[in-house]
Assembly symmetry: C2
Amino acid sequence: MSLVIVGSIGLDSISTPAGEIQNALGGSAIYGALAGSFFTDAYIVGVVGTDFPIDGLNLLQQKGINLDGLEVKEGKTFRWSGKYNTWNKVETLSTELNVFADFSPQLPESCKSCRSLLLANINPSLQMQVLNQVSGYSHLACDTMNYWIYLCPKEIEQVLRRVNIVFMNEDEVREYTNKENIYSAARDILSLGPQWIIVKRGEYGSVAISNDDMYFAPAYPLEEVKDPTGAGDSFAGAFMGYLANHNILNRAVIKEAILYGTVISALNVADFSVKGLIDKTKAEIDVNKEQLVKWTT
Amino acid sequence: MSLVIVGSIGLDSISTPAGEIQNALGGSAIYGALAGSFFTDAYIVGVVGTDFPIDGLNLLQQKGINLDGLEVKEGKTFRWSGKYNTWNKVETLSTELNVFADFSPQLPESCKSCRSLLLANINPSLQMQVLNQVSGYSHLACDTMNYWIYLCPKEIEQVLRRVNIVFMNEDEVREYTNKENIYSAARDILSLGPQWIIVKRGEYGSVAISNDDMYFAPAYPLEEVKDPTGAGDSFAGAFMGYLANHNILNRAVIKEAILYGTVISALNVADFSVKGLIDKTKAEIDVNKEQLVKWTT
């Protein structure tokens, strides 16, 4: 069974305390698909302009990522430029939506039999548009961001009522619920219907919360970070990629998914753009995951 | 075998978003001893003034805490007043050292056969004075704070060279080493001689780091905090109290000590002053500890 990821595809220019990179492969769907591709067949649903580099397409294909849902549209690809003055906070220098401005996600036929859907961070109305195209999926997950929480909380609520897994960071959980305590806030979100909320805590890891259970994982310890971009997207992509092989969403599956998400997001932030994800093997990832288990048990 | 705690004993006036309390039992030695007393005989070494409330002494004695090392001196007890505008940051409103200004810790004879020593947050010169009075202890631990790190880093280094366990929070680790990355910073501190550094991360839990191992624990999840005062002291007290029953400092012992420290510091912050520590049983603590293990494995 497979993973479908709907999200942004872009060219990022990023500056961090460790260096900088220009017009590099980025976007939530790219990070998510590369992360998910270690576990399952990953399908990207997104849009690029005619200026999108052929190298980028080749890389995705080499990693076995299915591009049936990739629309190539006359115009320029989505571009984002950001600067990290500290590791926890990014300052957006510019955003050019370009062809992404009119993105209207259409799932190709080949995505009808997939098991795992990740609605990466896009307008919740578009997330709902995708949800209305699928049936028979076991795992429906959404991510979001503070921008949409401010702009269209009602639309987010509609999405939350349809998914069974939610990815949010702590600030998003607090902003959406207007509650300071994340455990109490998580219960509010679970009351809308999701089975699990995965609260991302940056360098402190994550906690998965259901109505009657929790699982805490630290972040994978790193002595050097180069580029935090895509940490949450690669986490969610790996998580949902792992879930694509499991029909039932029990605690053991959630735990493994979180451990893999943790390991892969650490590989991602250890290098610029998607470089940290492309030359790794599943065996290396498993070694790191076992090490993480040892450090937590 | 027993635990000796050297530190402050005071009367605290605290205001938090959950309420306030005046002239309540406080100080690092009090929090540490009450926490440690769940696991072993705890000895307090400290000083109070003649105004120290008899209720406070009675409480310590009821909890079986040995007061041979408690000096009662003519004058007023140490007083501290603080306000928490958020849970993570306290603003000190006033500090009256009073009899604590001339504190010169002397270990009584009854403390010579103890196993576990916790040098709570006091002037590192006084910590060294205590270290020069002990021999044959298995576990020597120190805590500290940013004030001493700025004022006398050389004296802290001397202490670090003599202890085998260090408690510091993330900010203290960074300030002392002048390194941003806590794993790299921890290695600098371990290079001075300690076997383990326990890095406290507030609401995100803690990580124990040795030269070749790590153990991560989340904070015990709480939906309501009332007073964060003494969180680190009760953590360290429980940790060192557990160690008092174990001669060898292996990973399994460190892990249990951290789990108990985590559970007890959560009980502490769930109520004002030491209230959260005094009406609990070891059996209740064990239930919480087993729950924490379930949430992390």
